[in-house]
């Protein structure tokens, strides 16, 4: 649900978590992003930084400048002044990402986890397919790659995108690892809860993994024009389309990345309208899978 009034939850002496609701829907993410943008624009006193996520925005503030209660009061006022999310229109880049689904690298990682940490673990793609009532792992690939993903936020690791499927016919859910994995190959595509992510580096993780992309999504060396002003490829409000490809294609792109000739496949002429999107949702039958 979307709460009538957002909840203000303290996190120690320096943080406030503002929860707008307790589900994953774009509306909530728009509210979170909207508040973060408004704080930046209004230069709210004492706020050091914000981190909007699916249904909430985390505020990091300086308690030497402003106390908890006065800041909460100010933020409540600010939230009141924001218009309805339907009015939001954003520039939205669309990235096409060649992706090897059911790839050998994530499989090796899962096998290693099963062998060393959790012998009862069901292999990831199979688990996600079963839990979502899909025919088999190939069906999972079809459904997972059948939609554009909305970059709702970045975090956990620099540049790691948390993404939501824009097409409700492709919504999947997956449990997270328990205990977490100690390593995940760079570029691995995974799912936890209802969100999809790409691991920017060789990292620990908790998402179910079943694909891999060959191109970097963060780069401290600025080897590609996309990283000229940013270290991270994505911004909130970008979209990603995973395009299933073969291991051979993956390796081809990997070589292009290595020699610096890789061109990111991205279109930058589109705007995303929340009103149009919501309207479209009313016109489709959400039940069937692809």
């Amino acid at each position: 649900m979307i709460y009538e009034e957002p909840k203000f939850l303290p996190g120690g002496d320096r943080y406030i978590l503002i929860e707008f609701g307790n589900e994953m829907n774009l509306e909530l993410n728009f509210l979170g992003q909207g508040l973060a943008a408004a704080i930046t624009e209004h230069r709210t006193r004492g706020v050091i930084e914000t981190a909007a996520c699916f249904a909430s925005t985390l505020i990091h503030y300086d308690p030497d400048v402003i106390g908890y209660e006065p800041l909460v009061a100010e933020l409540k006022e600010l939230i009141k002044s924001l218009g309805p999310s339907d009015d939001i229109e954003l520039n939205s880049r669309l990235f096409y990402f060649p992706t090897v689904y059911l790839d050998p690298w994530s499989r090796e990682c899962v096998d290693d986890y099963i062998a060393n940490l959790n012998p009862d673990k069901i292999e990831d793609a199979q688990l996600v397919a079963e839990l979502n009532g899909l025919d088999d792992v190939n069906h999972l690939v079809r459904v997972h790659s059948g939609t554009e993903y909305w970059v709702a936020s970045l975090g956990f690791w620099p540049g790691l995108p948390f993404m939501m499927p824009l097409d409700p016919r492709c919504v999947l859910t997956a449990p997270k690892y328990n205990p977490p994995r100690t390593w995940t190959p760079k570029g691995t595509v995974g799912m936890g809860g209802a969100s999809t992510c790409i691991y920017p580096e060789h990292l620990p993780g908790g998402y179910q993994i079943f694909g891999r992309v060959p191109m970097p999504i963060w780069d401290t060396e600025k080897r590609f024009p996309q990283f000229e002003n940013e270290i991270c490829l994505f911004q909130p409000g970008d979209r990603v389309k995973f395009v299933p490809c073969s291991v051979e294609e993956f390796e081809h792109i990997e070589r292009q990345v290595a020699d610096g000739s890789y061109q990111y496949n991205v279109v930058e002429y589109q705007r995303f309208s929340v009103r149009n999107y919501n309207q479209w949702l009313t016109t489709i039958d959400k039940a069937p899978r692809f």
Binding site: D13, M24, H60, P158, G193, I231
Partner: protein
């Protein structure tokens, strides 16, 4: 310039308060874990409290100073010696060109701090010199210092003076009985834990796991139990009671993954899908920074207002008022 002869176990360049403003891209602040000791070290040598210095963990480095300068060593007692002679902690020390500072293992505490007049002058990365090891950015080439590296030092803007001391009352008091009273505040997700779970958390002796680093401190202790909210929720939260729709994490959050609580430290993740029933406020970070693996943490709940008041007191202590000239 400082020449690294031996790097110590994991000695890194840090500044205070670290790399702020990039949490929404996933960059943590980094910075010294015991910022109380760190700030005092800088004050002793006449620097701003936040100037870049060295954080030493468990075993300190051996460093050769190529120019005469003034340094201060605070925090854990790593038996600092200059040219073989023990030097006092919490006091500014004159070092002649060519002299060698040698530190060994921490006898009391875990993290020692070295401030140098002028401050370390490595290239800032996203406005901070703090080292973020895991991403390989900041500090000396993104990692802990290595033997044979030369650490650049800025020219001091004021004349640093030897023999300045931190008064006893302004120093953090490290535990000597292997147990620590650590302040926590409830929230943000405290309503996911049932009353019995809260009681267990407060009454338990939590053992600091050896699987702890600047990213997170893992705790070993009793089971957690949850409220209905944790059990009856939409599938997008994830299936474990401790799962929640991915959310921003406070630094200091006691992040519960399954049954394992991990305190998110200076290099921690900015968001994820586990609940944070408690948060360790900034005022208790120095204790975490000085606690050894296998030592015991007792948590003591205080309000946000109390934590902010204590923060003011510590800020006061990290000021010139706490310094006396001893000669």
């Amino acid at each position: 310039m400082i020449e690294v002869i031996k790097p110590g176990l994991e000695t890194s360049v840090q500044d205070y308060p670290g790399r702020l403003g990039y949490w929404n891209q996933g960059f943590p602040p980094s910075g010294p874990m015991d910022s109380w000791s760190f700030r005092l070290a800088n004050l002793l040598v006449g620097n701003d409290v936040g100037a870049a210095g060295l954080e030493c963990q468990y075993i300190g480095p051996t460093l050769k100073f190529n120019e005469a300068t003034v340094i201060a060593v605070t925090g854990a007692d790593m038996q600092a010696k200059i040219d073989g002679e023990l030097v006092p902690l919490w006091e500014s020390i004159a070092v002649a060109a060519g002299q060698v500072l040698e530190m060994s293992f921490a006898k009391v505490g875990v993290r020692g701090y070295i401030a140098i007049a002028g401050g370390i002058a490595t290239e800032p990365w996203l406005n901070s010199r703090s080292t973020f090891h895991k991403a390989g950015v900041g500090g000396m080439e993104g990692h802990a210092i290595k033997a044979e590296q030369v650490i650049p030092v800025a020219a001091p803007t004021t004349t640093a003076v030897a023999g300045r001391k931190v008064i006893e009352a302004a120093r953090p008091v490290f535990s000597v009985d292997k147990s620590w009273q650590v302040e926590v505040c409830r929230g943000p997700n405290d309503d996911w834990i049932d009353e019995a779970g809260h009681q267990r958390f407060i009454n338990a002796e939590w053992k600091l796991s050896s699987k702890s680093d600047r990213t997170g401190f893992r705790l070993e202790g009793p089971e957690w139990t949850f409220t209905d909210k944790a059990h009856n929720k939409g599938p997008e939260h994830g299936s474990d009671p401790s799962n929640i729709i991915d959310q921003g994490y406070p630094i200091g959050a006691i992040n519960l993954g399954g049954q394992t609580p991990i305190i998110l430290m200076n290099d921690g993740p900015s968001m994820g899908g586990f609940i944070n029933p408690y948060t360790v406020p900034s005022i208790a970070f120095w204790k975490l920074g000085q606690a050894k693996p296998a030592e015991i943490l007792h948590f003591m709940v205080i309000s946000v207002a109390e934590a902010q008041a204590i923060r003011q007191q510590i800020n006061e202590l990290c000021s010139e008022k706490s310094i006396v000239e001893s000669r």
